[in-house]
Each structure stands twice: as structure tokens, then as C-alpha cells.
């Protein structure tokens, strides 16, 4: 009898060792995670004059990586979304590789997460940018990471990094108008955000869940003077760090249901 028990145990191990991912059950749920760009309480729109404080902006694009998404259960267990490197954007057409080709205009604010284990969830964790392992080796290309989407370019490839976020357009203070390009990148500017839900939400197969988060561009641009410094990038290290910190603090929970 004991022998059978051991054999059964071996068989159990043999089968479980085949597993690559967590067991998918019929009770698993699905969630649509939306990152809704805003300016204060208004919708973020491209190609229109938008006033923030004493400045008037006209945005041409907003693009950023959301990576390593995890949902946090009420008991603290974190459920990681596999391969989660998502390019969120509201953008006019982007000229890539100095005009070699064009990335089409696009608006992408939703990420659909499937196979979420049935449970009560109290928070979401995600990062802005790309973790050091993938950022240091441009050939790894997990999820949506690619050299082909214009989120690296020659400047950044001479200094290995993805562009973690880019915000471009024009800015005016009534006296002068400047074209600006405010970008973040480099491992030190990889920021992780945790957002707690107002109350725990049940995710299961009974319904699809909507998780809507706001990204306030007014907060992103706090203390960034784009008239004086219209280019923010690796050569403006301290401003770039302020910008990266601003992104981390600019997300809020809008709706969880």
C-alpha cells in the first residue's frame, strides 16, 4: 500500500511538473484596465489648446510603458499579469527612425487582463517604464516591447534604454511659444505605483470587471518649466527624474466595478 502511495506521489509530481502557469478554472475572471489621461478633471485631448496654470499647451502625443502589472488580493496575495509590457498612448502619427517609417496615429488606453483567479481584490500595482532586466537588453522583447514602435530611438540606443514616457507638443506663456519634448528613460527612473481601491472588488467569471485609473497630465507637468527647458531627456537628468516622479504620483482610481 505504501508503495502505491509513493507511486501515486511520483505520478502527481510528474504531472504537476508539466504545468507552466497557474491552473485556469472556470471561475476565473476578466478585467478591463483603463488608463484615462486627463488634465485636471477634463479629458486629455490632442491638437487643441489646453490651459494649465499660466501656460497654454497643445499636445501632439502622450506615450508611456505600463509594465509588471499585478492585482493585489484582499489577503495580500499578488497576482502578476504575465508578460505585461503595455504601450499606452494617445498620439498623432510618429516619425520613427528619423523618417524611415511612420507609426500611425493611435489611441490606446485599455488593457484587458484575462484568467484572473477568483477572489476579492483591493489594489493594483504597476510600473511606469521598463524594468532593468528588459531595459538593459533590448533583444529580450517581452510583451509589447519592440524597437519598432518608436519607443527607442538613436539617442536612446547610444545609451541603452527604452523611452519610458514621452509627452510632446507646443507650450506658450503668452510671450513665446516653444516646441517641447519631455521624455523619461534609464533604470533609475523606473517607478512603481500602487493604487488602493476604495473597497475590495470581487473578480470572477460572473461578470467582467472595469478598473479605470486617471493619469493627470497637470500633475505630470508640475514644477517642469518647458519654456525654459523644452527638451527633457537623459542630458537633463534632474528634470527627467522630477518628471518620472511626477508620473508616479499622477495616477488615481476613477472607478472600480
Amino acid at each position: 500500500m505504501k508503495k502505491y502511495f509513493i507511486l501515486a506521489a511520483i505520478i502527481a509530481v510528474a504531472f504537476t511538473s508539466c504545468k507552466k502557469e497557474t491552473i485556469v478554472t472556470e471561475h476565473d475572471g476578466e478585467a478591463t484596465v483603463q488608463f484615462d489621461a486627463k488634465v485636471n478633471n477634463n479629458d486629455f485631448v490632442l491638437n487643441q489648446n489646453i490651459t494649465i496654470g499660466a501656460r497654454t499647451y497643445n499636445f501632439k502625443n502622450l506615450r508611456y510603458w505600463v509594465s509588471n502589472v499585478a492585482l493585489v488580493q484582499a489577503n495580500g496575495t499578488e497576482v502578476s499579469v504575465p508578460n505585461s509590457y503595455f504601450l499606452l498612448e494617445e498620439t498623432n502619427a510618429v516619425t520613427v527612425q528619423d523618417g524611415a517609417y511612420t507609426y500611425p496615429a493611435s489611441k490606446r488606453e485599455n488593457v484587458v487582463v484575462k484568467n484572473i483567479p477568483q477572489a476579492d481584490y483591493k489594489a493594483i500595482k504597476f510600473s511606469i517604464g521598463v524594468d532593468a532586466r528588459h531595459n538593459d537588453n533590448l533583444s529580450l522583447q517581452a510583451g509589447e516591447l519592440s524597437q519598432l514602435s518608436g519607443m527607442t530611438n538613436v539617442s536612446w540606443m547610444w545609451h541603452t534604454s527604452y523611452i519610458f514616457s514621452t509627452l510632446q507638443g507646443t507650450v506658450s506663456d503668452g510671450v513665446s511659444t516653444k516646441n517641447f519634448k519631455a521624455e523619461t528613460g534609464l533604470n533609475t527612473n523606473y517607478k512603481t505605483v500602487t493604487l488602493n481601491f476604495p473597497e475590495a472588488v470581487k473578480i470572477n467569471s460572473a461578470k467582467s470587471t472595469n478598473l479605470i485609473f486617471g493619469l493627470d497630465i497637470a500633475k505630470v507637468l508640475q514644477n517642469i518649466d518647458l519654456i525654459t527647458n523644452p527638451n527633457v531627456g537623459a542630458a537633463q537628468a534632474s528634470i527627467m527624474t522630477t518628471l518620472a516622479d511626477n508620473y508616479a504620483g499622477a495616477f488615481s482610481v476613477q472607478l472600480v466595478k
Binding site: A14, S139, M157
Partner: protein
């Protein structure tokens, strides 16, 4: 008993179920070559060398399809018979025809470098390095989408990517991985000095031995060990003013990458191996001969706040004193570090 047998028969089936359905043998692993007296190579967990990957990398390295106008390959600026340099100070053969800002670096013993590629270390590893020269409008100016399409149109490449990589795809990532694999096989340790070091029927004469001793005494703090480079960044006094911020800080050395003022004017230590192949010297190729280089260290070193302390060997003043006899001995010794077998190795040559 019978039941037990059935269970036993089941066992191999369950284990077999774990295997991939694909029954192909997969690429053949190749160990990293490590010559005697060399240190342990840098860790390389994400891109293990395989016969198929190395051979694919070699073919890509020499393929002009990798440039926008299909007129340049990697080898256009990295000639194998010049230890993969191009013999000019600043190349002008790129897509824009503009002179580049920096001298084409030699390609050998890169498997030991975990401290950044390019003269300022801006590139973290070989896999990431390839994308800059591939896409730069002043170099190969290759549209990466187009490159994938061009390679997919070649059945031989379709087969080779399938054989070399588990996902079998012709992708930018796999192109970079194959190129990196080939480059890690470019190991140079076959000079007369190496054979002398390994006691393989080679000798150095008295003058060469004097040169060896001088290099060990006065140069080895940077040109360290059997690689003859510490793979670090130093200001060797060729300039004193690093205030020019043009071209994203290209003239500011390692500072471009770290933004740390202590790194102004620092560039990566070049290896002393294969110097007879790699003239002209320095990050911008400003010195045509080894004589000029040694004259610089003797009496041309410029003082600045970031000057390497080892550059002040003249009783605390800038410079490394060398008389003419010493310079000649060093030049003779450096010549023994020439690896002609490396420069002629058919494994590294165009397919």
C-alpha cells in the same frame, strides 16, 4: 502486482507529456572559449552560444542587407584583417556621408566586457549595442521593419533563424542575439606574447622584455591583465576642456552616460592587443602612430580636474616620463601582442 505494472507503464507517459511536441534536436551549444590566464568571462545567461546562432551571426555581420541602401555591412567599418577596425580616424562611409564622431572600435575579447560598449559605455551589452549603428542615419540607417522583410525573403535565413532560436522568428531581437553570439567568439589570444606566456616555443628578446616590464610598471593600472584593459573609463589627458555639450555630449566622454561631473573626459581603456592592426588611436583616432601615443603620455598630457591620477607620474605633475629607449622598447613589446592568426581566422571571415 498487475496494477503496479500499469502504474509503472503510465509513468514514462506522464514524463513524456512534459516534453515539447517539437522533436527537432535544437541548436548545438558551444562553450565560451576562455584562453589560458584569461579571467572568467562576463555572465551571459540570456543568449547562450550555439553553432547555429554563431554561424547566423557571422552571415549577418557580413551582409549588406543590414544597411538602408544595402551598401554597408558591419564589416564595412570592422574589417577582420584589421582586428575589426577600419584604419581611419573617423569614418565617412555611413549613409549620410558625414564623418562620425568616434573611431571604429576593435572587436575582440568582448565576452569579458560587462562594463559597457562604445567609447563611453553607453551600450549595456552586445545585444543592445547593435541597434545604434544599425539605425543611426550617419551609419547603416536601416529601417528595421524593412530589414525583417528583406531577411524573410531569403529562404536560407528563414531556415537559419528557425534552427538558431527557439521561437524561430526573424525578429530584431534575434538579429541582435545572433550578431552578439558571433562577436563573443572573436577571441584573440594567439600573439607571440601569448605563446611566450604559455611557454609554447616562443620567446621575447631583451628589448621586448624591457618593454613588457615598462608596460607593467607604468601602464598596467589601466591596461590591466591578459585583456590589457580594465574595461573602465579614464581621462588620459588628451583634452583639458569638456564644456562642449554638442551632439548630446559626445565630446564629454563617460559623462554623457552617467551625468556625473567626475566622469567628464573619461573614455574606455582600449586593449593593447593587436595595436599594429588598430591605428589610428584614441576615441577619435587623433594619433596616427604608437610613437605619437607614447609622446603624448611622456610630454603631452593635459592637466584637468578629472585627469586620472596614474597620468601624474612626473613627480606628481602631468605625464608618464619615458625616454627614447624606453619608448622603442615599449613599441617593440606591443608588436608582440599582434595576433595575426586572429586577423586571418577563417571562422571569423566573410562566408
Amino acid at each position: 502486482m498487475k496494477r503496479q505494472l500499469i502504474i509503472l507503464l503510465l509513468l514514462p507517459a506522464c514524463f513524456a507529456a512534459c516534453r515539447k511536441t517539437d522533436t527537432s534536436r535544437g541548436p548545438v551549444p558551444v562553450p565560451q572559449e576562455v584562453p589560458a590566464f584569461f579571467p572568467t568571462p562576463a555572465a551571459n545567461i540570456d543568449n547562450p552560444l550555439t553553432q547555429e546562432g554563431i554561424e547566423l551571426g557571422r552571415r549577418l555581420f557580413y551582409d549588406k542587407r543590414l544597411s538602408g541602401l544595402n551598401q554597408l555591412s558591419c564589416a564595412s567599418c570592422h574589417h577582420p584583417d584589421l582586428a575589426f577596425t577600419d584604419g581611419v580616424a573617423l569614418s565617412q562611409i555611413g549613409a549620410s556621408g558625414l564623418p562620425l564622431h568616434r573611431n571604429a572600435p576593435a572587436l575582440f575579447n568582448m565576452a569579458w566586457n560587462s562594463n559597457g560598449f562604445f567609447w563611453d559605455g553607453g551600450s549595456t551589452n552586445l545585444e543592445s549595442q547593435a541597434f545604434a549603428p544599425l539605425t543611426s542615419p550617419d551609419e547603416m540607417h536601416q529601417n528595421l521593419f524593412q530589414l525583417i522583410d528583406e531577411l524573410k525573403a531569403v529562404p536560407d535565413y528563414v531556415r537559419r533563424f528557425e534552427e538558431a532560436f527557439s521561437d524561430g522568428e526573424i525578429s530584431t531581437g534575434n538579429i541582435a542575439r545572433a550578431l552578439a553570439q558571433f562577436q563573443r567568439t572573436l577571441v584573440s589570444a594567439g600573439s607571440r606574447y601569448d605563446r611566450y606566456r604559455r611557454r609554447e616555443e616562443a620567446s621575447l628578446n631583451a628589448q621586448e622584455l624591457q618593454g613588457l616590464q615598462l608596460v607593467q610598471q607604468r601602464c598596467a593600472s589601466c591596461h590591466d591583465g591578459e585583456l590589457f584593459t580594465d574595461n573602465k573609463y579614464h581621462n588620459n589627458g588628451i583634452d583639458a576642456d569638456f564644456s562642449n555639450e554638442d551632439a548630446e555630449g559626445i565630446y564629454q566622454g563617460r559623462f554623457r552616460v552617467t551625468r556625473n561631473p567626475a566622469d567628464l573626459g573619461k573614455f574606455r581603456t582600449a586593449s593593447l592587443r593587436n595595436l599594429l592592426f588598430t591605428a589610428p588611436y584614441m576615441h577619435d583616432g587623433r594619433f596616427a602612430t604608437l610613437q605619437e601615443v607614447l609622446d603624448h603620455y611622456d610630454h603631452g598630457v593635459k592637466e584637468s580636474t578629472t585627469l586620472d591620477p596614474q597620468m601624474r607620474q612626473r613627480a606628481g605633475q602631468a605625464g608618464i616620463p619615458l625616454d627614447n629607449n624606453e619608448k622603442q622598447a615599449i613599441i617593440k613589446y606591443l608588436a608582440t601582442l599582434t595576433d595575426t592568426a586572429f586577423a586571418r581566422n577563417p571562422r571569423f571571415a566573410a562566408p
